[in-house]
């Protein structure tokens, strides 16, 4: 898998737990130990109460489709052989929005609200990308 040429996660320390959890097949979002607010992407403090006491909490992996687009332009060389490819926007059952890709069969024009569930695709030895499969 060393030939993987698409963008990989940066070494942003705030995001490290997300990727560690993903490698362990767990989807997670940042959660505030003080007020319980769940948010993604992560921040150094809770956007609701400003507490620094944050943890990463596994979520169900269930989500609903919000929207999707089809890229015909490759903004990175690693995507040149992939176009056109789809990117979806999903709302986790727990609230936060996530940008991701579909996994598995997708109808021609998937509609908002379509139920989804997370799957993990290993793209390198250390990175697993959470993607979403349409629930039959």
């Amino acid at each position: 898998m060393s030939a993987y040429r698409k963008p990989l996660p940066t070494d942003d320390p705030l995001m490290a737990p997300f990727w560690q959890n993903a490698k362990a097949r767990r989807l997670s979002v940042q959660s505030c130990r003080d007020c319980g607010d769940k948010h993604f992407p992560p921040g150094p403090v809770c956007p609701k109460c400003l507490s620094e006491d944050q943890e990463w909490e596994p979520v169900s992996g269930r989500a609903a489709l919000v929207s999707w687009v089809r890229f015909h332009r490759a903004y990175w060389d690693g995507f040149v052989g992939e176009v056109p490819y789809d990117v979806c926007l999903v709302a986790l059952e727990e609230g936060p929005l996530l940008v991701s890709n579909f996994s598995g069969p997708v109808p021609d024009d998937p509609k908002a609200g379509t139920p989804l569930e997370v799957v993990f695709e290993d793209v390198t030895d250390t990175v697993a990308l959470p993607k979403f499969r349409i629930v039959a």
Binding site: K6, P7, L8, P9, T10, D12, M15, F40, P41, P47, V66, S67, W68, V69, R70, F71, H72, R73, Y75, W76, F79, E82, P84, Y85, V87, L89, P96, L97, V99, S100, N101, K111, A112, V123, V127, L129, K131
Partner: protein, 375 residues
């Protein structure tokens, strides 16, 4: 003092633009200097009286001041983001009202065409890159599909926006893209990030803009009849900016709030607007803006723009210079200049008849609206 109290107190007295295109032989400072010289000439001011300098998308304000031979009392640098023009104008109003400066020059330059700016990929690294999601265009495509599903809006209705603005560009000698297009051309254009196609995207071109502001009182001594800033409104949307340039509610409440504040301050409403200058980074933004400002009901902007309503000869002449889609990607700055030129009656073939009230709006994570009237 309140913002409402600034009604008609600040005037635009000079505007200057450069040619628009691909200019590898000159840099952003050089283009900005040309725009500045043109704006100084436009208002007939001694440039050394300018004691306020605002630079946007220009690398270094001090170098800009050095080039222009200016030692201001008030200087402000704004980032290269597209949404800054309305913000900058409001900042300058406050500086003028408080006396921090007496004459402010706002300068903007863009060299994105000659320097091959992509607006995506490695130059805009973000957390969604591993899934291949990048670029403001993709964020607007994501929003537009939601608008389509929620309200039944069609890409053909989006085409109405592109076709109307191209028509205006065909009447505008400075515009980059003058060849008229049809709805079928729009539908047949190559897809970039679907549901958006090439003609839904703004241009990327080089150029610069300068706007000179002062108080309405001082404006009387200058060359051109002043254009007054009668209303402004503002609201940011940062708390749900997880995806940059995207909002699942199309900045509806922000646009509504900014619009209402501007209308209230100016004492006008949507039906009084003779021409609209609408930030059109991508064609869907125009539909979102029309709904937020109340030109039509929520969800009805697609039907509203049909039949050429945004054309100069339509009910709501919009982006009469051709906008970002067909005139020039001056990120809102040229639209504010066009508002001024329309109110002065300087627009030749694309002049809106009896033009007395012009509104600028940018529906973005920093939504701003400015209402201009004849002095």
């Amino acid at each position: 003092m309140s913002m409402q109290g600034l009604k008609n107190k600040i005037a635009v007295v000079g505007v200057g633009t450069t040619d628009y295109g691909n200019f590898p032989e000159i840099d952003d400072y050089g283009l900005a200097a040309r725009a500045f010289r043109n704006a100084v000439e436009d208002c007939g001011i001694d440039k050394n009286r300018i004691d306020g300098l605002l630079c946007c998308r220009i690398p270094f304000y001090a170098r800009m001041g050095e080039i222009l031979g200016l030692d201001p009392r008030w200087t402000l640098q704004m980032p290269a983001h597209g949404r800054m023009s309305g913000m900058a104008i409001i900042e300058a109003m406050l500086a003028l009202e408080t006396g921090a400066a007496e004459y402010v020059a706002l300068l903007y330059a863009n060299i994105g065409r000659s320097r091959r700016v992509n607006y995506g990929g490695e130059e805009l690294a973000g957390i969604w890159d591993p899934w291949g999601f990048t670029s403001p265009g993709a964020a607007h495509a994501m929003m537009f599909r939601m608008h389509m599903e929620r309200f039944g809006t069609t890409t053909r209705q989006l085409g109405e926006v592109s076709v109307a603005f191209r028509h205006h560009a065909s009447l505008h000698p400075d515009a980059v893209m003058k060849k008229p297009i049809t709805l079928d051309d729009h539908a047949a254009a190559r897809p970039i990030v679907e549901p958006l196609r090439l003609l839904d995207y703004c241009l990327i071109n080089d150029g610069a803009v300068c706007i000179i502001l002062t108080t309405a009182e001082r404006a009387r001594d200058l060359r051109k009849p002043p254009v007054l800033i009668s209303g402004v409104g503002a609201r940011d949307a940062f708390s749900r900016s997880a995806i940059s340039n995207f909002d699942p509610d199309f900045w509806y409440s922000e646009t509504r709030e900014a619009g209402e504040a501007a209308y209230r301050m100016a004492g006008v409403g949507p039906s009084d607007i003779d021409a609209l200058m609408c930030y059109d980074n991508f064609s869907p933004t125009v539909l979102f803006s029309l709904e937020g400002l109340g030109f039509c009901k929520r969800g009805e902007a697609g039907a509203f723009v049909e039949g050429g309503r945004l054309r100069i000869d339509g009910a709501l002449p919009t982006n009469t210079d051709g906008g970002h889609l067909s005139n020039s990607y001056m990120q809102g700055w040229a639209l504010n200049v066009e508002a001024v030129r329309q109110l002065r009656g300087e627009c030749g073939e694309r002049q809106v008849k009896d033009c007395e009230v012009v509104q600028y709006v940018a529906a973005t994570p920093c939504t701003r609206s400015v209402i201009y009237t004849r002095g």
